[in-house]
Symmetry: C2
Subunit: 275 residues, 2 copies
Amino acid sequence: MSTFGERVRAAIAAHGRLCVGIDPHETLLHDWGLPVDASGVREFGLRTVDAAASRVGIVKPQVSFFERFGSAGFAALEGVMAAARAAGLIVIADAKRGDIGTTMDAYADAWLTPGAPLEADALTANPYLGVGTLTHAFDLAEAHGKGVLVLAATSNPDAFTAQRALLSDGATVSAGIIAEVSARNAQRTPPGEWAALGFVVGATVDWHEAGLSVPVPSAPILAPGFGHQGAAPADLVRYGTAAATVVASESRSILSAGPDHLAARIAERASLYRG
Amino acid sequence: MSTFGERVRAAIAAHGRLCVGIDPHETLLHDWGLPVDASGVREFGLRTVDAAASRVGIVKPQVSFFERFGSAGFAALEGVMAAARAAGLIVIADAKRGDIGTTMDAYADAWLTPGAPLEADALTANPYLGVGTLTHAFDLAEAHGKGVLVLAATSNPDAFTAQRALLSDGATVSAGIIAEVSARNAQRTPPGEWAALGFVVGATVDWHEAGLSVPVPSAPILAPGFGHQGAAPADLVRYGTAAATVVASESRSILSAGPDHLAARIAERASLYRG
């Protein structure tokens, strides 16, 4: 079975680096003429999947915008993710889950078990409680060709308290987390392949200031913050030698096109992230 | 309207410090003779609420064990939380959510909005992306007599990477987070009252080693790790001057009694945390 990284590599080769964020924010639901409820987020998600299919390789539903509507919102999310996977899209569930022991294991089971109602191709995970707490998620991902994308560095200054604090060896927390996950990738990834485990590193993060001199060969990197949030395709150079494995996520810049112009907007934006 | 802290204070005065964790782990579902599906976790949760009502003041459903079953699991959780609140129990949704901007805002809306399907009395939150990202959650909590419990320090050594890294002033990340939240509490809490915002600090955390010399007057503290996980009521002294506001959470030690002996076990354990 291909690693998640190899699946991402194939998707980039076929469609380019753009990942379409499925973020049914209340303002966008209004703009699209959809109700602000579970039926609205379902319709929003399904239309976005339709427009994304065959134009990009990867979509990223933002779980909170579905969770807001409780169980009905999760039922909508299940429908949207199933439609996306049926259309051949790689689905990154942006849930940023993190916990300890069997509690974290249950989150991993929820999102990374084949056949589970919320099955995704990859899950974003929060390492504040320790990279070791994610072991079961890593195991599931590696066993089933799925991925875990560990939050490493975000660009909001609020986050610097935790992410740029220093470990006893002088590395930043972000760098320490990348090193821990990379050590596992190094043991488990066939030579020349892209790995199952990767990172979330915001598009406008200054890698030098964040202490990220760590090389991360072949680890898939989810880069939120492109488009409306301020980064442009030229900013991919910020990722240095890691740029090869970056998936660039845009949401508002695409979704603001509205349902009737969505496919054209996706095609236009996707073309900027090819080659 | 009373702050969440004042509601906790009243619950402790009436029933003592014990909080019953509602953790429908697969092993426990088997032991209780319940199916490992959404109907099983619903039944498990409702029976635990019945046994807890009038014997303790606070329950803490562990969201991951419901999330595992997707939208059907969340429907079960909605039923369990509604039953608990109707029985007069304070419900702490242990979801450990954390994200940025409007994404975090949507999580706050999901759990802290009056009338929302997943309405709880308090939400546990992950500060890895910055305490500032939790502002809307804090606003909602303060406006509606609800609480936010920010993950400050856990006892698993895995977590030390992020939590015990050092800030530029020499404080640990855990201490820095407590200081940021406490500054807000100091501004917003009426004199003499317990605050809306509090912390999660594991029962077996060594406060000195974790750098937690910070006083946290009047902030409610959720302390997981009592009972089966190793801490005993005598360990409340670890919290020093903060011990007055601690809610001690036990789950496995209680739930392992099975459905027929649950009420008696809760009564027995609760008595250890009074006075």
